[in-house]
Symmetry: C2
Subunit: 240 residues, 2 copies
DNA sequence: CCTGTCAACTGGTAATACCAGTTACTATAG
DNA sequence: CTATAGTAACTGGTATTACCAGTTGACAGG
């Protein structure tokens, strides 16, 4: 059972699989800008021929690219590069996360930490393009409230925060918040009650969003920050 | 070009691929605790027969499980479940991240935000098991400083922070910090200069770590927090 | 001009085969 | 008896081939 003591410093030989080489070349081409979002990827058969490997090897590489959200594959169509999205990855991992005890609360606390930091980095004033999706989310939320559609309301709530964070100046915060928000979205769609159920609470949420939106629209970013901050803390207190 | 206006609310039909079904079953078994870390996964051929699908389909599912760091595959051996690790995912995505402008600095700022929050959640007092890897990292850093081995020093620095965050009480912060720290590690191994190069700076880092370690070991968690906080801010100022 | 058809793509899946590495059992040499 | 070498039965990695199903675009006929 014991290992041989060896004075020589032989290092274990790391063998790499073919799909990793393919993956590496793709990532390199993307990170150097040779391939850009929107570009069409050659067909699997062409790639197999170019790389001089078999189609299954190519497919495994594409599978990974799909999971990390770098390409969209349309059966019958082809594969297209896109800006990296965390959605596919999240949808796989989310069940593992939420199976943990009290994950919901932890996630909310984490989101509070990040989102408050993100709004500190909002450009001032906000552009119209940044404001527009927020307005839409509010409209959606108002409609859901009237219809008493809890899930739609929760999703609209998420959409509001998503559009808010997308306006942030920090790339990392955007990605991390996208990840967090996606987790929430997954939880809501899965029927978990990370959301407010009572109508008056939903109305309060809507009201908060509207105030934040108004302040942002009229350029009072600082005031909006304070509102959002207390808004998030209110939500957390509610859930605890 | 215009789409037909349809009053009926037909929703697009989402077709799912076989590997997704397999993936789903696996994730479900793991999240419900039926499968636990350390368990051996049946061979690809057995799985193919159980699921009544072909081996390539099984392999694509396993490939994804490998990328999200849920299984270890040993060629010739078999596949074993493990606690989810972000390493494999990071190693694919890292080049994409660092190709962005000023990503290093953003990452450092983000890490500062998270890590300061994480140390607020450190248990008090720290267990010996939590302290031990920190001590090792310090020893390694000291050795690297004497040898003037910049890369080894940087890796030991990372290892110190990694062992610190692993002691935190928050699952999410652990995972996110693991992600961030892995990104740093990747950058260092890639030869990027996210690290301090001058020897006196490295000595300063080591000195900071030693002080933090001493405070933690003697139970003065609060004092350690303050030290770590100013330590991180110092590092950031240096890089800016 | 619109519409349906058809051929040539695309990715999804299956089946099969072979290679290379691991493992465990076994026979053989000492 | 023990330790070694050999062997057989695994494992995953890769390649090949084939067929299905969906998309696309050109083309012919209304």
């Amino acid at each position: 059972m014991e290992e041989h003591k060896s004075n020589t410093s032989f290092k274990p030989i790391a063998t790499r699989k073919i799909y990793q080489y393919i993956l590496e070349q793709f990532v390199h081409l993307v990170s150097t800008g040779v391939l850009k979002p929107g570009d069409k990827i050659p067909s699997e058969r062409e790639l197999a021929e170019s790389f001089k490997v078999s189609r299954p090897s190519v497919r495994e590489a594409l599978r990974v690219l799909e999971i990390i959200g770098l390409i969209d594959i349309q059966p019958g169509g082809g594969a297209y590069l896109k800006e990296m999205e965390l959605g596919p990855f999240i949808s796989v991992v989310a069940p593992l996360m939420f199976s943990r005890d009290r994950f919901d609360l932890e996630l909310l606390e984490f989101r509070e930490l990040i989102e408050i930091r993100a709004i500190e980095l909002l450009p001032n004033p906000l552009s119209a393009e940044a404001l527009e999706p927020m307005g839409r989310a509010i409209g959606e939320m108002r409609r859901a409230l009237q219809d008493n559609d809890v899930e739609a309301g929760a999703l609209a709530d998420i959409q509001f925060h998503r559009s808010l964070l997308l306006a942030s100046n920090s790339f990392i915060l955007q990605k991390v918040l996208e990840l967090v928000v996606s987790l929430f979205e997954h939880a809501v769609r899965g029927g978990r009650s990370v959301v407010l159920e009572k109508q008056e609470d939903a109305a309060q949420l809507l009201h908060d969003h509207e105030r934040i939106y108004r302040e942002l629209a009229s350029g009072n970013t600082d005031q909006a920050k304070k509102l959002l901050s207390s808004h998030l803390m209110m939500v957390r207190r509610y859930l605890r």
